[in-house]
Amino acid sequence: MVCLEMLTLESVKEGGTVVVVDIESKGWARRLYHMGILPGAELEVIYNRGKGPVIVRCHGVEVAIGRGIARRILVKVAEK
């Protein structure tokens, strides 16, 4: 088994594509699931510049995610 490095969505650079591994935020998790952001989903990071929300594209929809929530979304780099 290849062990891939896990990161939080907050630390993913702009332009990167990642796959969600886990969501640690209890309250927001369900909303994220319904938006299609759940383990296994591919996220393309459109905007992430240190401050302000992280903006991702998931299932063709852009979603702005506050940093507090992004910090609790664990991701890994997508295999090309």
Binding site: A29, P39, R49, A64
Partner: protein, 694 residues
């Protein structure tokens, strides 16, 4: 007998639900409240092929499990009220994501027709959908729609009439490893007829495993041995799968959608994906975004008030010495055109009816009341059109993001930007725009905060008072009043945050879907405007009219119910005399101090009337003279200016606050809060100013 059916319209946010609702009902909806809530309920009545369709617009939901009070309404309507049919909308441009709701609902009920929206847009992007195949796989009718081109509407209405009340089998999704646990719970639940008669047992089992609070409550009502057994099964499933069951179930649903519903039914021609221009990134950047967002709103704000009142251009021109030009512009603004219209109507009525008490009642009381409502029409129309453009183009959520991190420091979110900035022009549309704020607590908070922002009418009063004081104090008065008002808003926001959230640790976080940016459709913008304007006219308008008429009567009738020629003999004057001692802490005392109270009461109708009320009641020809008559010293004028800025939202704003919160309690709180803050700050200012000036 005529057949009548109840149809619920549901969909995820941004799928084009409101647009379709507006097209179907042609903008004629009955707007009420959902019982026990402050959430608006829109219902349209249509007739199709002899059947009366009651179409209910449900708040947008992502799935059946809810997080907010609005989503709870949709959920309860679907699972408890049980309409004859649900029209579930999906967005053809993001079919997979939006089908999630369809699948979630189909597991509960088969009384569904699926509407696929924005098909014209999907086609232009090269997305082709096999609707028959989708319908076969979902086992319910699937109708392609375009609300903008008004295509597919007849087919949808046909499908509604044909399928209402038809119970098709619910959808069964294979949840793999979870199946044995689902079946065990299903068996236990099926033994309780009070549950299994009302809800599909399998659906209860899946929703219980998902952690749905409503289903959890239902299970807890079973005998304690049964509910404990079911709880045990869920624990076991959690251990066995080693992960969050809600995530597992959601993943399975999405997989099901991809593999069994969409696969082979949707073909996307390889066309270049439109990239968002880099310019939009300016709206996301933490350093530039607040500037860009505020800049855009500032331009909107200026345009709105320039069209309506010529402000601030007239003010600038006046100061630069081009007072004739300023007057010319002022003459042709919408507000002055309306004012002149009413003036000539009043003159006409006066000459037609002849001079009598009835005439002055009709002209000043009734016509004045109508004018008090009508003057807001152009203002609200333009503000709502601007807001409609911002919203429909997809720009608004991006602006909210831009300022979110600045406003967060003050206990507000990015959504507060619009209501607060519009309030600087007029509090009425400011409070109305709180409607676009998703969180109910924040909406309530903004409705209470917005009236503290000095509007244009208050600026006029402040200007008059400033010139009456003159000198350095007069110069400082206006910026000082604004500064104090903003400080009050910030401090109150932080305080209200602590109170309204009642210590709950809720982070002001952002999770917002960004609809694609596109050119706004005029039709959609117009519907939005018309709906809000109609709302204002019928709801707030009646209150404004009624109170205006009553106040006219109070200021023109004596306590013995005869008409008076002098304001000082009126009921309102007696009332003001009784209250006058209250103004002592502001330095207004003496036998004529009632005039100040009288003017403040009139100012409640519209703040700009305050100055003329002061002059008429004191029988003066200038404001300076009036202030001398009531015996106001310099420190007292400063205190009065501050008091006037903050003392109470004007009548129209009060009516709008009531209209938006649908709560008498919060409306009264708003008035009490403002009076209290104004009084305290006014008294403090008087004390401080007395020290400074002497």
């Amino acid at each position: 007998m005529k057949r009548e059916i109840v149809v619920g319209l549901v969909g995820q946010p941004n799928v084009g639900k409101s647009t379709l609702f507006n097209v179907l009902t042609k903008g004629n909806a009955i707007v009420t409240n959902w019982p026990g809530t402050t959430v608006e309920r829109s219902e349209g009545i249509l007739k199709h092929r002899g059947v009366v369709i009651r179409l209910v617009d449900l708040p947008g939901i992502y799935g059946l499990t809810y997080l907010t009070p609005e989503e709870r309404i949709s959920r309860k309507f679907i699972t408890e009220e049980r309409p004859d049919l649900l029209v579930v909308l999906v967005d053809s441009t993001i079919l997979e994501r939006t089908l999630y709701l369809v699948v979630d609902i189909l597991e509960f009920t088969g009384r569904v027709v699926v509407g696929v929206t924005k098909v014209d847009e999907a086609h232009s992007r090269g997305i082709h959908i096999n609707y028959e195949l989708l319908a076969k796989r979902l086992n319910v009718p699937v109708i392609p729609l375009s609300a903008i081109k008004e295509s597919g509407l007849d087919a949808l209405l046909d499908a509604i009439v044909e399928n209402a009340g038809v119970d098709r089998p619910t959808l069964i999704i294979d949840y793999g490893e979870l199946e044995p646990y689902i079946r065990s719970i299903e068996e236990i639940v099926a033994q309780s007829p009070e549950l299994s008669n009302r809800y599909p047992p399998r659906w209860l089992a899946v929703k219980y495993l998902e952690g749905d609070i409503d289903v959890e409550a239902l299970i807890e009502k079973l005998s304690s041995s049964k509910s404990r057994e079911i709880e045990g099964i869920r624990e076991e499933a959690r251990k066995r799968l080693g992960r969050d069951l809600a995530a597992f179930i959601s993943t399975k649903r999405l997989q099901f959608i991809n593999e069994y519903i969409v696969k082979g039914a949707v073909v996307t021609a390889p066309i270049k994906r439109r990239r968002e221009p880099h310019l939009y990134k300016l709206l996301y950047s933490s350093r530039l975004a607040p500037l860009v967002s505020i800049g855009i709103l500032f331009i909107v704000f200026l345009a709105v008030f320039l069209i309506n009142t010529g402000f601030p251009l007239t003010l600038i021109l006046d100061h630069m010495g081009y007072s004739e030009l300023a007057e010319l512009i002022e003459e042709y603004t919408l507000a002055s055109l309306i004012e002149r219209g009413f003036e000539s109507l009043a003159t006409y009525l006066e000459s037609w009816l002849g001079e009598s008490i009835v005439t002055s009642f009709v002209v000043e009381g009734v016509l004045g009341g109508v004018a008090a409502v009508v003057v807001f029409i152009p203002l609200i129309t333009v503000v709502m059109m601007a807001l409609g453009v911002l919203e429909d183009s997809g720009l608004l959520p991006r602006l909210a993001i831009g300022v979110h991190y600045v406003l967060r420091k003050f206990g507000l979110s990015g959504h507060a930007l619009l209501p607060l900035s519009i309030s600087m022009g007029c509090n009425v549309p400011g409070v109305m725009t709180t409607r676009s704020v998703p969180s109910f607590i924040e909406r309530l908070k903004l409705a209470l905060l917005a009236p503290f922002i000095p509007c244009q009418a208050r600026l006029v009063v402040l200007l008059a008072l400033a010139s009456a004081i003159g000198g350095f104090a007069g110069l400082v008065l206006i910026p000082l009043s604004y500064l104090i008002s903003f400080l009050v808003v910030i401090l109150l926001s932080l305080a209200l945050d602590a109170i309204l959230r009642r210590g709950e640790e809720v982070e002001i976080e952002l999770l917002l879907e960004l609809p694609p940016i596109h050119r706004p459709y005029f039709k959609v913008v117009w519907w939005f405007t018309w709906r809000n304007l109609k709302h204002f006219l019928f709801k707030a308008g009646t209150v404004i009219f009624a109170v205006s008429v009553v106040t006219w009567l109070l200021s023109n009738l004596s306590p013995s119910w005869s008409f008076v020629s002098e304001p000082s003999e009126s009921i309102l004057a007696s009332f003001s005399r009784a209250l006058a001692p209250l103004l002592t802490p502001l330095g207004v005392r003496g036998e004529n101090s009632w005039i100040a109270v009288y003017a403040l009461v009139i100012g409640f109708l519209a703040k700009e009337l305050l100055i003329s009320a002061l002059m008429i009641a004191s029988g003066s020809t200038s404001l300076n003279e009036a202030l001398t008559v009531i015996g106001a010293s310099k420190p007292s004028i400063v205190a009065l200016a501050l008091f006037i800025t903050l003392y109470v939202p004007c009548l129209a704003t009060v009516a709008t606050i009531y209209n938006e919160t649908k709560s008498l309690k919060y409306t009264l709180i708003s008035i009490a809060l403002m009076l209290l803050v104004a009084y305290a700050l006014g008294a403090l200012t008087y004390t401080l100013a007395t020290i400074i000036f002497t």
